[in-house]
Symmetry: C2
Subunit: 396 residues, 2 copies
């Protein structure tokens, strides 16, 4: 498992920004990442190619002539100034699992796939790599990314060839949790059962800007005081719903001077939950709170919905197989939902998908301090081996 960490750190040296890890969709340093992975894959007995969406794909053949394919993968791009493990770890772990087979063939093919794009940094649109795998690249997206594909030495018009066959066995993704839950529970691993749905909204509270010295407290229409009261309600209401998170991350106060009562406040709202109905109820309640707060204070409030993304369930059979693999390895089984989006969410539209989370020390991710424990990597590898063994028995 030390190999896995060392390999992730080696790949992290391929960056657009010296001193940081920044590697966006089909950027120059992606070539070096592909070269390293190709070498490891080929030495493990895999045949390697890059599809025309820029996904690196290594195929480990089956023991049988015609057999379905299991995909194991994650993404190779990063956010700006990222850590060394988000995405890359899942690909490197896939290769390590093939190496552990030591040349032994299974009754199914295994393809380790390194997606070219998940973070949405270069074109503002995430999941380009996994969308290509499920044949979901529309003409508009293709037009946007065609030059980048060509510049990487690939052929945009052949992007459809990236599409997986219809009889795929499934998709397995190892990923760091990027949150503090497993650490807080003192657990190395978590089995993802759902990727949470998400609403994003923009709200605008409007009152009356006025002189901070000459306007008595009882004659104010302070948009910030109203927004602050509502932010308190967002926190309180979200805490009251098990598994829900609600966040106000952005606040813009106008005019924003220390001696002027705020006339308007624009805020964001981000709400997530594993169950869509629970999430929608919570959003409705939070908007009602905003209206009530505004009415109580002679303010107005308006909003726009920017995103309403449904939750995506992982495949129940694969989830149970992962749970059995965790349990048989002697570790506690913990089911959880993922509050962040992942490639597995896209791939799940076309084949059974499952994810295994590895504990994130300090809950830190998207940051140079992002890390993963060697013992948790060892645990993930052992669970992966047990998972493959059960799959092998089922297909025997």
């Amino acid at each position: 498992m030390n190999d896995v960490l060392a390999r992730c750190r080696l790949l992290a040296e391929a960056t657009e920004e010296p001193g940081f890890i920044t590697r966006t969709f089909l950027s120059e340093p992606m070539h070096a990442v592909h070269a390293h992975l190709r070498g490891w894959m080929e030495r493990a007995g895999m045949s390697v190619f890059t599809d025309h969406a820029g996904n690196l794909r290594g195929l480990y053949p089956s023991a049988r002539a015609s057999s379905p394919r299991l995909f194991i993968g994650s993404h190779l791009d990063t956010v700006p100034r990222a850590g060394a493990f988000d995405g890359v770890l899942g690909v490197v772990l896939g290769v390590a699992l093939i190496e552990r087979l030591d040349g032994r063939r299974l009754p199914f093919e295994i393809e380790v796939i390194g997606f070219s794009e998940e973070e949405g940094v270069r074109f503002g649109l995430p999941f380009i790599g996994s969308r290509a795998l499920i044949g979901d690249i529309d003409d508009q997206l293709l037009t946007m990314i065609a030059d980048a594909i060509g510049a990487f030495g690939l052929v945009p018009s052949r992007i459809d060839e990236a599409r997986a066959a219809d009889d795929a066995l499934g998709y397995l993704e190892f990923h760091i949790e990027q949150g503090p839950v497993l650490e807080s529970l003192d657990l190395p691993l978590g089995v993802v059962e759902t990727i949470s749905g998400q609403n994003r909204l923009a709200l605008l509270f409007e009152g009356q800007a006025n002189h901070a010295g000459t306007t008595p407290m009882n004659l104010r229409q302070d948009a910030l005081a109203g927004a602050a009261e509502w932010i308190g309600a967002v926190e309180r209401e979200a805490r009251a719903v098990a598994g829900a998170v609600a966040t106000v991350g952005r606040v813009n106060v106008s005019p924003g001077a220390s001696n002027v009562i705020p006339g308007s406040v624009a805020t964001s709202l981000d709400v997530r939950h594993a169950e869509d109905a629970v999430r929608h109820d919570l959003v409705t309640r939070l908007l009602r709170c905003a209206e009530q707060t505004a009415a109580d204070r002679c303010l107005t409030v308006s909003w726009e919905q920017r995103l309403d993304q449904a939750a995506v369930a992982m495949d129940s059979i694969l989830v149970q197989m992962l749970e059995r693999a965790v349990a048989s390895s002697g570790r506690p089984v913990h089911r959880m939902s993922s509050g962040a989006g992942h490639d597995a969410m896209i791939v799940a539209r076309r084949m059974p998908a499952a994810m295994l989370f590895l504990r994130s020390p300090g809950g830190i991710s998207h940051h140079p301090d992002e890390s993963v424990l060697a013992e948790d990597v060892a645990a993930a590898l052992e669970v992966g081996e047990r998972f493959l063994r059960e799959l092998e028995q089922r297909h025997a």
Copy 2:
């Protein structure tokens, strides 16, 4: 009184920015303002000069050879995109009072003074005109403004000549309220008894930025949720103290992305009250609230004081004279404090000072919609006449 409004509107045409009223310290359009006022003053029997701080000064002689001087005035500069009455009205009203004397001399001199600077826009320092009148221009300030003085055709080294004689009778300033209090009480006029003291502070709440999707509510250190709770406390505590105002006007959230839990929040705090001890108690309480909120939420909070300005009392004898003038004109007497700073606050350091506020429709000021009612101008003129009459009797 229609003349007074028309004159203010005429002076408003002298602007640095066509379509708006913007006239900063010794800017080019100030020449036109001086020319108009000089004409009205000279026709009213006043001798006019500009001192070397750029204050326009018109002297109406006494009936007696050697007699003390009453100053009546306000400022001629504006904020950017101002209204037509803030400052200017007090100077134009002073001239109108001299006109109403119709050439009759009183047992004291009257100087109508139009201060060159009160708003602090051009050099970031307010009250340059009134500071010159009381001999409070230090070398640092003079160095800063010397070029502007020279460019206006004045002599910086002669700024000391602007200083008023030690035996001044007093200073009277008419000014729009710039707040909603008189309108809410249905009163045309208010007698200022104190100009509130003021604290300005900058606070910084610090928590831990984190992923909005992967960090459960109970594992967050959300700096904005803490700041919002405190903003609620600021409003609540200030409402509980009669006459106090406290304002959070500026909020900067970092990193400020909709899907990231705020790691730090910088806010301003502006606290004002007519009594310094009450204000200091309130500030102490608000800072304790901030500490308590931070402690409850595993955040830290720190602050810097940016301003601690004592309240300034108006002269009690002049205040009582104004009250008698209001009462004898048949109007309700209302004492109030000024939440904003004014030239009277500076001048009060050297001579008895008093202010009469005129109702601000809608409480609007520092805005093109700023206005004043003709009937309120008539009321102020009548009160001014009655004030001069009592002063005349006292000096008879």
